[in-house]
């Protein structure tokens, strides 16, 4: 076993354990799914680094000649998957910003002077009516 295999094997193993721990501990279906998939990716990477010939065997099952090609295809698919997750997360952040902006806009709405005068007059009349002693 080469030094590269030892170092990278250890690194991917730690990453797998980290993601598996997060998958088990984090609440919420979304976080669990993402961390579960990431744990699967790191576990696969660890196995393939420690046993490179396995990639060629698995590639052969799918009709791909070289194991490295299979790894490349899987990497492209995962990159798309990650881009999608990032996109939806960005959308959620945008929606949160919009919610804050909306609440500020409504809380600080500006009323035209004429309407403000009418509302003030109505409020004063109401207060005057409430102040009058009930017979």
């Amino acid at each position: 076993m080469s030094l590269f295999q030892v170092l990278m094997g250890l690194f991917t193993l730690l990453c797998f354990l980290w993601c598996a721990w997060k998958c088990a501990r984090r609440p919420g279906r979304y976080a669990r799914t993402v961390n579960g998939l990431l744990a699967l990716v790191w576990a696969s990477a660890c196995v393939l680094i420690l046993n490179p010939e396995l990639a060629t065997v698995v590639a052969g099952i799918f009709g791909i000649k070289r194991g490295v090609d299979l790894v490349l295809y899987v990497f492209v698919i995962l990159a798309f998957f990650y881009a999608m997750i990032t996109y939806y997360r960005l959308c959620d952040i945008r929606k949160d910003i919009t919610l804050i902006v909306r609440h500020i806009a409504i809380a600080e709405h500006k009323i035209p002077a004429e309407k403000e005068r009418v509302e003030l007059k109505e409020n004063n009349a109401l207060q005057e009516h409430e102040r009058q002693p009930k017979v």
Binding site: Y87, Y88, T98, R102, A105, H109, P112, E114, K115
Partner: protein
């Protein structure tokens, strides 16, 4: 649904850097349309759109930063809900809509016949006489897209002139901030089983409205955004 004897009408105008025309648009509504409260959602304009609208007599809701047409519409609808509006009319700020069309637009809601009324420029051929061909083509593609994606059969899918009943106001909760919200409206109509009707309207294609309006190329981006939202896990 029952016929309305009295109603509280709100106009929602989304505006982004429209100080040149917003005053006239509000004046037209006050003069020619049924009386109601005019709400201008100033979507983070860098000019004095908000102050012009306020001095013209509109209630102004100011977004601190630009959030897009869909976000502005939802801000207006939320304000209308909080103020117990019975009817909401959405109206474009750029002056392309005719305030005289509002009476016809709200009539099906007042008479209790439907929840949403959508204006269509294609029901009356005279209103599309000076429409650029690229715009016409894009709008027709939008109609086909809406029919396929939302299963709502309309003749004009991207017309900003719409009216909502109290039920429509309550259930119309779009989530897309940008202009893709206009496709999402049809999705909401279908999902919430809202009854709808199309009425003809007149569109003024001025140099200003053509310059300010969405470019035809934006249609692809809008469709893509809407598609991604539909595919959301």
């Amino acid at each position: 649904m029952q016929k309305m004897t009295t109603y509280k009408l709100f106009y929602i105008i989304r505006a982004f850097n429209e100080s040149a025309v917003i005053g006239q648009t509000i004046a037209d509504l006050k003069k020619c349309a049924p009386s109601g409260e005019i709400i201008v959602v100033d979507d983070g304009s860098s000019d004095d759109t908000g102050s012009v609208a306020l001095s013209a007599g509109a209630v102004v809701l100011s977004h601190l930063v630009n959030r897009g047409g869909g976000a502005a519409l939802q801000t207006g609808l939320m304000y209308a809900r909080l103020n117990h509006a019975n009817i909401v009319v959405t109206f474009d700020a750029d002056g392309q809509h005719d305030a005289n069309d509002v009476s016809v637009l709200i009539e099906p809601i007042v008479s209790g016949r439907c929840d949403v009324v959508l204006a269509s420029r294609f029901l009356d051929s005279s209103s599309t006489s000076n429409m650029p061909w690229a715009r016409r083509l894009t709008l027709k593609a939008g109609v086909i897209f809406t029919r396929l994606m939302s299963r709502v059969y309309v003749t004009d899918a991207h017309n900003g002139l719409r009216a909502f009943s109290a039920r429509g106001i309550d259930l119309m909760r779009t989530s897309l901030d940008d202009m893709a919200y206009s496709s999402e409206i049809y999705d909401q109509i279908y999902r919430n089983n809202l009854s709808y009707k199309e009425v003809p309207c007149h569109i003024r294609y001025t140099d200003y409205s053509l310059a300010k309006g969405q470019r035809s190329s934006a249609a692809i981006r809008i469709a893509w955004r809407f598609f991604l939202e539909k595919m959301r896990p």
